[in-house]
Structure formats: structure tokens, C-alpha cells
Symmetry: C2
Subunit: 362 residues, 2 copies
């Protein structure tokens, strides 16, 4: 394995849209969402451990989940678990991880990965990741990974491709990024053939990324400079990191860095990618009955039901009649029965539950 | 209190239509269905204990529920709990209870009552019961109690009134009994003004009832005769009772005795009666939200829901979207989500669960 290759797994999120299974005290990445016997972060870690030296796999998480990370990934060394000083968007976490990589390996390159994805073709994934890491090792480029859309999905972000980069294996210049689009735009994107799903997998050399960050923000330039010299002088940088997080804009990586840089490419990938962000997504990747129903982990009797997803505590039984396109999920003290298609539902429910019922339900 | 008055509470049923709350190991009569802090049988017992000497209140139940009866009605003496030798329709249970009353008080009169009813006007109920007991003490009549229908209910039986009995307080000769009718008949019954809901409350002197039983069946005549003489001679009658149960036709009291007798009257009652046989019935008697939803014992967040009934284990929360006229009930290891209006549903679900999933879910 190439010792210059690093992996940064982002595992600090709340996974709200998979409530009530995903809870504040144990978000989805720490749950066996698919009923495979392994949690999502375990799957993610193992996927990378096949191609990247385990001492180079770094997990960024929240203080609340430090224990869960250690329990679920017992092999990981304490030094490779970066605990965010506060909950922020992913930008400061990715900056910190890149600085950490530079500290260990000045010409290291890394892949940034969410901890809640499903990859169906592992061999294709490994090949694409390794090719991508080689590419960003050789070129001063911020490389994203795009999956060919199979439907006009509205819960994913999109990347528009510009021209093919000569001499590369399916790598294109990026024309634009789009956040989750409205249905009519999703349809246009899907049909145009120019747009790829944004997998949220990013590859770059740590140095290229840090250069991009300091180029787009004078404030970040100052803070990053301080952290780098703090590292160099062997100082305790925790106050500086706190400042890095506190001052980071509450924007996505795409908005704050990639859209403002001109060296961003996208690699067209074919490894069967799905983001397990919503119940719809979980439904879509699991085996379905003739009627399109998915039942995870529990027994059930379904009458006149179609395209539903059902997950109850183990040993429980669901008897359901006459529902189509519904989510039926129970976990601990919360039962949710709601329409599956409406993406914004669950966030609203969680907010209402927190406000009206109490923290113990969130 | 009149020491000739007896009460027989029937508490051996399974309450299948309130599954999964009502379970084989603890049927609905032993459950606080309405969230009042008292079980249905406790309510029933206390209602009668106000007007009938407690030493004259007899409970007939199944061996499986003997312990539940003693736990929930700790005041009752062991002699007043009759344990059916086998599960049968109510006929042999009522015969046995009548014979037991005769043994104690040859001219005793009694009211037979289910253990799962809701009575909203207790004073009216007490007055009607006492007047009825007086009436059957003075007249050799089998008296039923009928409630004025408030809707074209299809889950209740109906009693058709014939002429008024002169000199009585709202007592009529019975024209006919009808089991749960189809919707079109229920509508005609309701609109005609001639039909009352059959409350399942029956009053008679024990002797009048036994005479009716032996009149309609030669086989019953023989068995009943044997039990009576067994009692008279102080013998152990348990084998005879077993025979009584085994040979009783699997029919209702109405079919096997009342419809075949010509001395059957009905008293029109106004005490706010409801049979808690179905989730629809439970829904109808409990306080409803503006949208017609009823939530028992649990917290909930309902979005775009109408006329639903929800009951979860205590401390649990239901978040439900977009359901109308649904039952959402969870108990122990079973969650049922089904249409509320369809009466035959739940029996089918229970059968399927027993067959396909196992006894532990029934």
C-alpha cells in the first residue's frame, strides 16, 4: 500500500433524516442500518482499510461519539481520532485533517469520505480511489467523485461536467455544483447526461487543498498559518483549532472552497454508490418484496401495502394494512409512521419532538 | 341491598378484536383499556358492588385467568370465581352460574353481564338494573336490556321491540334478535325506531332461566337435572359440569335459548352503553381531538391525521402523518397499523400471526 495515501472519514453528523433510528446519542453511522451485522462506519472503515494503511485512516468525530468510535473500530489508534471542538459544517474538520496529514507526511494525499454510504461494487471502488489518489498526487487538482444518475433524485447534490481532461480515465473539468435540486431541475439534470451525483468523496493532496483554502479566505489564511507554525514549533494548538472551527463559515465544502477554486475536476465513477441519508435511500438499496416493501430485521404481516420500509426493534412484529410509500420505524421510545417521499418531513418531526416532547425523544 | 339479587360477570373471553392490546395471556377485560387507572373488569365489578351484595357477585372465567381475577378483584371470595372446565360459548357458563345461584338462594334473581362494557350514566344504570331485577322477581320473564341506537352500528346485535308491556317502565315484548347486521340492514334498523342495541345484559330469576333451558333442549334437560340432583346430594359435580360444557351447543344465548322462548322482554335503557369490543368502539367513547383522533396513554405528534386511535406502551411517542380512520396500537412485541372501520380485519391478522409467526404474538 502507498504510505502517502490517507483517508479521512467524517463521522460527526447527526443523521437526522433517519430518525428515530438515528438518534443524537447514537447517529446512523454507528448503527447497523442495513441489517448486515456491521454499522455504517465499520463498513466504511473496512472498505478503506483494504487499500489504505490503517495507520493513515483518520476519523473526525464529535466528543459525544468518541466512545462509539473506539468501541466500533477498536483497531484505530487514539491519535487517529480527531475530536471536533464544536459542531460545525465539515469545512474546519477537513482543514484540520489535511493539516494533520501534512504534519505526518508533507506530500500526503487523501480521500475525504462520509461515514454513511453504501458501495455495491467494492473492486470498482478500490480501483477508482487508487487512480484518483494517484491523479491528485501528480496534479495540483481538487478531485471530486461523481456517480452516473440512475433517476432524477432530489435528495442528492449534482456536479456538472465540463470538458474531458485529455489522457485521463474518465476525469472531467467541473462546470458547476448544485445542491439538492427541485424536482423539475433534477429531471433536466438527469436527462441532459451532463450531470453526475455528487458522492461527497473528495480527493486531493493535503497541500493542494490547504493552498485552495488560504487562497479563498484571508481569515482562514491567518488561522491556518498559525496552526501550521504551531505544529512546527511543537506547541499545543487546541486554542487555534477552536478558533479555526469557530471562524469557519457555516457553508459546505463545495460553497466555501470548491466553487471558488479553478482547479476542480470530477471523476466519473461506476462503483454503485448510494448515500444512506434518507429512508427512501435505504429502501432503494435493500431487497424488496414483490410489492416493493422492505422489512429490516423484524417479522411482519403486510396486507395491501406497497413500497413501504419497516424497521422495528428485533423480535417485534409489524402488522400493517393499506399503506403505500410509507416509512414505519420504531426505535427505543419513538414510533414514526410517515410518507416516505417527502424529504423534509422528518427534520420537521424531530424539531417538533424536541420542542414539544423533550430531548429524550431526539 | 336485596339479598336475593345476584350478578354474574362473564370474564372468560379472549377479546381478539382488541389485539394486540388484548392478548391470550391477558385479554381486554384485565386491561386498563381506557386509560382510567382501572381495568374493565374492575370497573364492572365496582359498578355492581354498589347495588348488589358482594357475596352475591360471581365471576365466571377461564383457568388461565383465575390468577388475574384474584389479583384484580382481591375482595372476591374463592367460591365466587367459577372456572370453566373448557372454553365454550357463554351458554354453559350462564347455566352453571344460574344453578349456583339456585343452590344458594332458590328464588334468587340475577343479572348476567359482560366484563368489557362502558356505562356512562351510573345512576341510570343502577336504577334500570334494580327495576329489572324486581321485574324478573315478580314475572316469569327473561329480560334483556336494549340501548337506543345513536347510529347504524354494524358491530352490535339488535333487538326488535314488539308491544309495550302495560304497567311497566319502558319494557317491551321482544319481536326478534339479529346478530351484527350488514350495513344496509343496520341503517334500516336504526331509522325504523323499532330496534335497540343488544347490550348483552340479561336479567332473570335463576329458576325461570333454568326452566327455559330445559324446555328448549332435551339433552340440556338431562344434564341440568343431573347437576341439580348432584348439588342436592352434596356430590362432586365437576364431571357433570364438564359434560355440561362439552355438550352445550356452540351458539349464543340468544340463538340457543332466547329465540326459542316466548317469555322474552326487553327493557329500553338510557344509561349510555357501549361495548368495548372493537377499536372503533373504544375510539368512539374516548375524548377526541378536533380532528377526531384519540391517543390513549401515550404522547404523540399527529400531522394530517383524522379519526385515528393510537395506543402505545407508556412513555412511548407516536409520530404519525397522513392517516385517516386508522388503528395504531402497539403492545409488547406487536405493532398493528390497520383500517379502523373494517371489523373482520383483526381476527384475520391474529389468525395469520398465530399461523405464520408463532403463539408468542397472539
Amino acid at each position: 500500500m502507498n504510505e502517502k495515501n490517507y483517508c479521512v472519514i467524517l463521522a460527526g453528523g447527526l443523521g437526522t433524516r433517519l430518525w428515530p433510528m438515528s438518534r443524537e446519542k447514537q447517529p446512523k453511522q454507528f448503527i447497523d442500518v442495513l441489517g448486515t451485522g456491521r454499522t455504517l462506519i465499520q463498513d466504511t472503515y473496512e472498505r478503506f482499510a483494504r487499500i489504505i494503511p490503517t495507520e493513515n485512516i483518520i476519523i473526525v468525530t464529535n466528543e459525544k461519539y468518541r466512545r462509539l468510535v473506539r468501541e466500533q473500530i477498536p483497531d484505530i489508534s487514539e491519535n487517529n481520532v480527531l475530536v471536533e471542538p464544536m459542531r460545525r459544517n465539515t469545512v474546519p474538520a477537513v482543514i484540520w485533517a489535511a493539516l494533520e496529514v501534512i504534519r505526518r507526511q508533507p506530500d500526503g494525499r487523501l480521500i475525504v469520505s462520509p461515514s454513511d454510504q453504501n458501495i455495491s461494487n467494492i473492486e470498482a471502488f478500490e480501483a477508482d480511489v487508487l487512480r484518483g489518489l494517484d491523479y491528485v498526487g501528480d496534479n495540483e487538482v481538487l478531485l471530486t467523485m461523481g456517480a452516473k444518475p440512475s433517476r432524477a433524485e432530489t435528495s442528492y447534490g449534482y456536479i456538472q461536467m465540463a470538458h474531458h481532461i485529455p489522457g485521463t480515465h474518465d476525469i472531467y473539468k467541473v462546470q458547476s455544483f448544485t445542491e439538492k435540486p427541485a424536482a423539475e431541475f433534477a429531471k433536466i439534470f438527469y436527462e441532459s447526461g451532463e450531470f453526475l451525483w455528487n458522492t461527497g468523496l473528495f480527493l486531493w493532496s493535503a497541500e493542494t487543498f490547504i493552498r485552495a483554502v488560504v487562497n479563498v479566505s484571508a481569515e482562514m489564511k491567518t488561522i491556518v498559518g498559525s496552526v501550521v507554525s504551531g505544529y512546527r514549533n511543537g506547541e499545543n494548538v487546541s486554542d487555534l483549532l477552536l478558533e479555526l472551527f469557530a471562524k469557519s463559515p457555516n457553508m459546505t465544502l463545495e460553497q466555501s472552497v470548491l466553487e471558488k477554486s479553478d482547479n476542480v475536476d470530477v471523476k466519473l465513477c461506476h462503483f454503485g454508490w448510494a448515500d444512506l441519508g434518507t429512508w427512501q435511500a435505504v429502501h432503494d438499496i435493500l431487497p424488496q418484496s414483490d410489492m416493493g416493501n422492505v422489512v429490516i430485521d423484524s417479522k411482519s404481516l403486510l396486507y395491501d401495502c406497497k413500497d413501504c420500509i419497516i424497521k422495528l426493534p428485533e423480535g417485534h412484529v409489524a402488522v400493517v394494512q393499506g399503506l403505500e410509500d410509507y416509512v414505519i420505524v420504531e426505535d427505543d421510545n419513538v414510533l414514526v409512521i410517515c410518507r416516505k417521499g417527502d424529504q423534509k418531513n422528518i427534520r420537521k418531526f424531530v424539531n417538533d419532538a424536541q420542542l414539544n416532547l423533550g430531548e429524550e425523544y431526539v
